[in-house]
């Protein structure tokens, strides 16, 4: 009778006398050790960075404690050159500029992602997707430069006076129009976060289970109803993850923001007013901060930024896990 060719299966004797070859004997533990080493390295790096940041912020932490977060002052010249510092202006600036960026970028990104996955002609999809992803490849410094040369003057000379005229009674638009301010920085951050959110949202929408979409169509749903009832709810966790990724980029952006935000520690109701963020302030002053309390306070700002970023990340993971389990 014909059976499988004997060369396809190991002989019984080979199985009984199996001895691992040298390459296998070294290879497997070697792989384990190397990847364990890489993992340990990554963990050690994070711990080392955290330790350095909190250590060097020591003098400021000892002097101000957690109250540093609530102090609204940044005066390197006070008290005979020792200085008096506080983080409130910068925490406000970071949170507000990032929040505005997310509010503008998220609907835009979701719309672009929907267009690319559901609505665009197939021919158009890949080129547009590539162009959107190219936005993420632009170095921050160049975006900041474009902000100074193009976006800032456009906002300061056209859009802000227009908003001031129409909506000036709202405190948000009540200040003097200025090319350097919170609004310009928020828009630059929007441009930086947009490609990230779009790319991830696109992947999420593209992986919506086909049977759910076909089911909706079979029930007579229009395209918009199908999107609303199937694609968006199914992709909700992924979109939240995308927004968190974009938020992470916005929170930490230093160079582009410091070029357009005006670098003035203050809290004003108007979006047109100059402000400061944690990252931008560190970028501005790190080279010339007075050794002692000045430098320590700057690194305290860095510690706060680190904690905010980690918190945002942890909240995102918890949300995604909760939704996925469901």
């Amino acid at each position: 009778m014909s059976g499988p060719t004997s060369s396809a299966l190991p002989r019984r004797s080979e199985l009984l006398n199996y001895r691992p070859r040298l390459a296998d004997r070294i290879g497997e533990p070697g792989l384990r050790a190397l990847s364990a080493l890489a993992g340990v390295l990554a963990v050690a790096l994070i711990l080392w960075i955290a330790e350095t940041v909190f250590n060097d912020a020591g003098p400021a932490i000892t002097k101000y404690g957690l109250g540093f977060i609530g102090r609204q002052v940044w005066n390197p010249d006070a008290n005979g050159g020792v200085g008096s510092f506080g983080a409130l202006d910068f925490i406000y600036g970071t949170l507000v500029s990032s929040l505005i960026a997310m509010v503008i970028a998220t609907p835009l990104a979701v719309a672009i992602a929907l267009y690319l996955t559901e609505l665009a002609p197939r021919v158009v999809r890949r080129p547009v997707a590539i162009l959107v992803e190219l936005l993420a490849a632009i170095p921050s410094v160049i975006l900041g430069l474009w902000g100074i040369l193009v976006l800032g003057p456009f906002l300061g000379n056209r859009l802000e006076p227009f908003l001031h005229r129409i909506l000036g009674w709202i405190p948000l638009f009540g200040g003097i129009p200025s090319p350097y301010g919170m609004l310009t920085a928020a828009l630059v951050l929007t441009i930086m976060a947009l490609p990230i959110i779009t790319a991830v949202a696109r992947e999420v929408f593209a992986s919506t289970p086909a049977e759910l979409k076909e089911g909706a169509w079979a029930l007579g749903a229009t395209r918009w109803e199908m999107v609303r009832m199937v694609v968006l709810p199914a992709g909700r966790a992924g979109v939240v993850g995308a927004v968190i990724l974009g938020l992470g980029r916005a929170l930490g952006e230093a160079i582009a923001v410091t070029q357009v935000i005006g670098n003035t520690p203050q809290i004003q109701a108007s979006l047109f007013a100059p402000a400061g963020t944690l990252a931008a302030q560190i970028a501005s002053e790190y080279q010339s901060a007075n050794p002692g309390l000045g430098q320590a306070s700057l690194i305290f700002l860095a510690a706060i930024l680190l904690v905010i970023s980690l918190l945002v990340n942890v909240i995102a993971r918890l949300y995604v896990r909760r939704v996925s389990v469901r």
Binding site: G81, L149, S284
Partner: protein
């Protein structure tokens, strides 16, 4: 921190380069390279000194224009051989530096530049008006106080946006020094001169070039910038009233007049020399002139001292002739004499 690491690395390489003794200079060898950092005001002059000095003496000088405040910090940390600053040490910085000298080696000025569509060049300002602009009390260009000084000019109704430096700057020091003297209100609100102060409002830029960028991008801005940048970038700049009631054009003659009004030069290279707001006995003096200093330790690394002494002696004598084309006035003779005496203190 990162700059310290990079500059420290460069320093290590330079030290390797100077390990080979040069011919005919005795035991131990003389360093062939110097590393410095600091003021952006003196950077144009430094970039002319570097190739000239290398061609003449074979010594390579590396300079990082990171702002006067940065120069002070790097010298205190001893990551550089010399610092450059338009601002003298604050008391705490002098203590932290452990016996450092400030030797004035160039003479320049800080101008008040502005960008205002519809207004001519050379608008006139007084010290009080400038103080009130930066304090946020004068908010529009057609304010009566500005109009009074410029009676024949039609000033537009644009908002004023005062610009300042966010990094540690000798121009900030000189400007605040001047405003403190002419406006008691400014002194009370802002405090004594320092490389970084707490400005109420306005917009911040990094370095002279950053502030210049803010100026060119926005209408209605006014800023204090080193003279070389203002003239090279062709910004409009203001004429500032001095104590004699005149509005001298900032330039070599008016800066030299301010330096000549010096009564005495403090010895021993300490404490800096302030020449802002010169008395009425110098009617042609520009009121916001400033020396810029080289900051050196009295105790240097081996091999550095002779090279450093020769470089600074050259800079305050032969090096001065490169100044006028870049809008640096020549040092007064009394200052040069004091400098050459102080240079001998570098060991």
């Amino acid at each position: 921190m990162i700059v310290a690491a990079i500059v420290g690395g460069t320093l290590a390489l330079a030290a390797c380069g100077s390990a080979t003794p040069s011919s005919g200079t005795g035991s131990g060898g003389r360093a062939k390279a110097l590393v410095g950092a600091g003021s952006t005001l003196v950077a144009p002059l430094m970039s002319v000194w570097q190739p000239t000095y290398y061609k003449r003496y074979g010594v390579a000088i590396t300079y990082g224009a990171i702002g006067s405040g940065g120069g002070i910090v790097q010298l205190i940390a001893r990551t550089v051989d010399f610092g450059a600053s338009d601002a003298p040490f604050l008391r705490a910085q002098a203590a932290a530096c452990h016996g450092c000298l400030e030797i004035p080696w160039a003479l320049a000025a800080t101008l008040v530049a502005y960008h205002l569509k519809g207004a001519p060049n050379h608008l006139r300002f007084s010290g009080r008006v400038l103080a009130d602009i930066w304090l946020g009390r004068i908010r529009r260009w057609d304010d009566p106080a500005i109009r009074r000084l410029n009676p024949h000019v039609k000033l537009p109704d644009t908002a004023i946006l005062p610009v300042h430096r966010v990094d540690g700057s000798g121009d900030t020091y000189a400007f605040v020094d001047y405003l403190d003297r002419v406006s008691p209100r400014f002194r009370a609100e802002i405090g004594p001169p320092a490389p970084i102060v707490n400005w109420p409002g306005g917009v911040g830029g990094r370095g002279n070039s950053g502030v210049g960028g803010v100026l060119s991008a926005a209408n209605g801005t006014i800023a204090y910038i080193a003279i070389a940048y203002v003239l090279q970038s062709h910004f409009d700049y203001g004429l500032v009233e001095n104590q004699a009631g005149r509005f001298p054009t900032p330039g070599i003659p008016s800066i030299a007049a301010a330096a000549d009004a010096l009564r005495s030069v403090p010895a021993g290279g300490r404490r800096g020399v302030s020449i802002v707001d010169p008395p009425a006995s110098a009617p042609d003096a520009y009121p916001i002139s400033t020396f810029t200093y080289v900051l050196v330790p009295t105790a240097t690394r081996p091999g550095i001292a002779p090279t450093l002494r020769r470089f600074i002696s050259w800079a305050v004598t032969a090096g001065q002739r490169f100044g006028p084309k870049l809008d640096f006035a020549p040092l007064p003779q009394a200052v040069v004499r004091a400098d050459l005496a102080d240079v001998r203190l570098i060991r």
